[in-house]
């Protein structure tokens, strides 16, 4: 990866001029196939979900009569749903800053010249391209209280037998999932931030140092404002991924013990495909789409990557 060759941060990309000649047919023909496919999988489901959410289809009954907002009202009173929202937000507010800070520290570590740097960076990419469900499975093997190495390492550290039940004990199941999540995605933050940091003009930081500013002062006053757009983008991408967190939790606990680690996505899966509460699950899907679309549009404009 050419992190050393100053990367360019795209924030305000000037849109190229259209030539304005008779290209209308051509340009719409070019987007048509893609739009059709996206609509098939994007718009159709939305409409269909809306319709189903107003019916009352369950595992045993195909009741397609109109039930209005019945399921939406039930959803508001569904504590399991609100808990799932809470769990999801909890993962988000802990994992996101942790990944950011750790990724930043890593980026600072690798910022300066170092022999073999490319090799390190290449190796650190691997968690990011591992399938998240495989990552969940992987950590399940590592966290096994008897045959996994983590308790063993801990018992070396404390000098006595450690039998932490990582996937059972409520005090440890969140840390377990968070460790797996942070393991997988810290390198993502690292890669983005390293590229951004490498692009910062050295003369600016040198100037600040000459003015007597320390390392951290320079960092917060000079460097951080410059790389801020990248930080926002990284947070946006990861934040949205965390909001739909499914695979890692599924691999480690499937939402357990009880429903203690159940996320919104897992609850939606359980409703739709284990309990076959078709209409109720549809209502939940609509609520997620509405909330998320609003958040996404807001955030996308905010970080201005559309321009």
């Amino acid at each position: 990866m050419a992190v050393t060759s100053a990367p360019r941060v795209e924030v305000a990309h000037a849109p190229p001029r259209s030539r304005g000649v008779g290209d209308r047919g051509f340009r719409y023909a070019m987007i048509a196939p893609a739009v059709v496919v996206i609509l098939l999988i994007g718009l159709f489901p939305l409409v269909y979900t809306l319709i189903v959410s107003a019916q009352n289809i369950t595992m045993m009954e195909e009741d397609t009569s109109f039930h209005g907002l019945m399921h939406y009202r039930a959803l508001l009173a569904d504590t399991r749903f609100w808990q799932a929202v809470l769990h999801t937000l909890l993962f988000l507010v802990i994992a996101l800053p942790a990944q950011l800070v750790l990724g930043l520290l890593l980026a600072l570590l690798f910022l300066e010249r170092m022999p073999g740097k490319q090799v390190f960076v290449a190796l650190l990419v691997l968690p990011v391209v591992t399938s998240p469900i495989i990552a969940g499975a992987l950590w399940r093997l590592l966290f096994d209280n008897r045959f996994g190495p983590i308790n063993q390492i801990l018992s070396w550290l404390v000098g006595g037998e450690v039998t932490i039940l990582w996937t059972v004990n409520p005090g440890f199941v969140y840390p377990a999932i968070l460790i797996a999540e942070i393991w997988q995605w810290t390198p993502f933050m690292f890669l983005l931030l390293l590229a951004a940091l490498a692009s910062v003009d050295q003369s600016l930081t040198e100037a600040a140092k000459l003015d007597g500013a320390g390392f951290w002062t320079t960092f917060f006053r000079v460097t951080l404002p410059i790389i801020k757009p990248v930080v926002w983008i990284a947070l946006l991408i990861r934040g949205l991924d965390l909001f739909r967190l499914f695979d890692v939790v599924w691999g480690l606990t499937q939402g357990g013990p009880g429903t203690m680690t159940e996320t919104v996505s897992i609850y939606a899966y359980v409703l739709a495909f284990k309990q076959f509460e078709t209409s109720y699950a549809a209502a939940l899907a609509v609520v997620i789409i509405v909330l998320l679309s609003a958040a996404v549009m807001w955030a996308l404009r905010r970080v201005e990557i559309a321009r």
Partner: protein
Amino acid sequence: MLLRRRDFHALAMGASATALLSRRALAASAAATAVEAAKQYSGEEITIVWEAGLQSLDPLNFSGPKWKEATGISVKVIEVATAEMFTKILQEHRAGSGAYDALNVIPAWMPDLVRAGALEPLDPFVDKYGYREELQEIAPVYRDNQMTVGGTIYGFPDDGDVFVLYYRTDVLGDPAIQAAFKAAKGYDLPVPPTTWEQFYDVASVITETTGGKPFGAGQFREAPYMQFMFQERFRNEGGRFFDPQTMKATVNGPAGLKTFQGWLAENKVMPKGVETWGFVENLAAFLQGDTAMTVSWPPYGRWAAGYGTDEAALAWVPRSQIAGKVGYAMPPGGHPQLAAGFSLCVSSSSKKKEAAYLFIQWLNSQEVSLQRVQLPFALRDPFRDSHFASEEYRNRWPEAPQYLAALQAGAVNGLLDLSLIQTDRYEEALRQGISKLWAGGDPQGILDEIAAQWDSITERIGVDKQRAAYEEWASKPNAYPA
């Protein structure tokens, strides 16, 4: 007695050959009929859903290849984790893609799957291929409860699953431990314990006396298994699942609390980390001599005797250190859960129903099933009267007759899994409650929560409908202890 691999194959082949000959002399056996009829489908492939892991060793290593050899039909085994089986089968039925031909179905789900239209009625096939007589020879409790829904045959009971108490005769018979027991508890050490109070007493004294070498007891504790243990113990303690009038859940009564508290107390005298134990962890501990008592499914008894542990497919099972030192008994309370079990069914969306049917008839037939329940790596357990009586089986290891007697007694006294409309949702609530218990939740609070969840599920499904389903289930002789 230890069987070597080639002995086993010789035995299996010899047995099937003689069985074939003797039956052919009278009439074609169900197995032979199935093979003959299936040959017309030679070259095709059928898929069968099987529980992932150990259960699948049978179709992968034995019955699948044998069927292919006999008929030319290959068998593709789709391994699915137990917790996903119901979901997958029903999803597939909804999708109707014909991806599954034959199914392993836990009998408690059969009514649900039949209501959804996912299972093919088998009576026409049974008559066409002359299987009725052999079906009748399945042990009554399985035949009467795991075969039909509303009088129509939808599945062949194929697994005599029943919980058994395994105990170390040498440890419980140790004079030093017996003396310590008498001193501590004021009565003679019961061999084996017949109530859960006695079970706890025995386990705690052993653990204390030996300092955990071995522990008095070990147990799988993962929620999917424990929901069966809950159903069993709860009913042995006098519990009833619902009020038959109001259909309000009554799992949070005293019997439920006693069950939960009993477990928590037992965990303290079991090895550390027992809360995460599954089938294999518990098995390993018992076979290695680390625990003196455990309740589990029948395969434990075979492997504890050292039967079949030379098999390559079982290479990962620790070698039994306790052969010849294992006693078999009813679990405390005397009414073991007929936990899970499997019935062989045909998917209604299959495009190869006939071939799928013939395969399950062949699997389930007297002749082939006798081989399958004796497979060293099998998890299928004796379920026909002829299995319990088999001379061949009784000679497999010195204590085999007692073992078979215990299984047969279990089949008589056993308790059926709860089976309602959408049983899986009730079980799911139970499983979640149990995992909360291991996470340190308050037992009564958890039970109240389970009851509340059951009530809301019942309401969602319809109280009257569910009451009718419950009444039908509860009227069966093996629903509650007599």
